[in-house]
Amino acid sequence: MNKDFVAGMKAALPILVGVIPFAMISSVAAVSVGLSFVEAMGMSVIVFAGASQLAVIQLMSAGSPWIIMVLTAWVINLRFTMYSAALAPDFQKLATWRKAILAYMLSDQAFGLSMSHFVSTDEKLDHRWYYFGNALTIWAVWQLSAIIGALLGPLVPASWGFDFAFPLSFTALMFGSLRDRPTVIAALTGGIVAVFGKGLPYNLGLVLAITSGIAAGYWSENYKNGRVMK
């Protein structure tokens, strides 16, 4: 096997401690709102983006309209465009179908592992193999854990309140995303607008909250940089 591929796989091992429970919770949650094993795994394989899957499940249990679920998931996954842009130069010379496979496996963890390694090492390393090694490991372990979660799901009684694991996992991910004052302002604005917009029809409050949060963060960064009049 390619040595950079193996190095990528090894680098993924410690992060699996976070991947396994998150994948299991995602499919326990999917089964708990009434999805079958096949449906839960269908979503896991087709979407492969935990935060958006949990958001869809939460909205499903609240009886939200179809279009709101789709839009919310897309907005949550907008962050992948940033990862895609950052990795693009490394993949430029690959055939389109290979680019498509690497893109499908893109996750927060694979991006984080790869980029932090690429910027911190001078050693001769094939970035594509290293990324493929860790992204594939994360993908495979995610799906295996999702299978276990979907099998265990029906055994977990609703009275245990496991649906509360969604907001808790989002809380941890949210704190991980707070890097400076503008991101804190984006989060506070998004959260507060969501609370006040809760009563709006079709869950429009959520979309309004996310766009207000992005606008507030963007504006405060411009203000900080003295470019507010630009």
């Binding site: 949550i76 962050r79 895609s84 430029q92 893109a103 949210m174 959260g191 969501a194 507030a216």
Partner: protein, 109 residues
Amino acid sequence: MSKLSLWLLFLAVGAGTFSLRFLFIYLFGRINMPDWLPRALRFVPSAALAALVFPALTHPAGSLDLSLGNFRLLAGLGGALVAWKTRNVLFTILAGMALLWILEAAFGL
């Protein structure tokens, strides 16, 4: 929700998510990215995650409840403290769930 609309939901979410992942890998070298786009996209995770978390804590049963009887709000704040200190998904879930069960066992009906 019918079986058909459920699978259409997965396909729509999946196709959109794949497009977002593939977009710039595919476009690289073909177009230049506008300068404001990455600067705006950077705020998506913070804004979106907070917008999902806040109402889940303040509206546990669909209506606003800021009282001490709202165990999910209290357990969520405890979880937030752990999230702030550790940034770890698993620790946050364990702490928040444990707190919720303790509150329900001690003060619940």
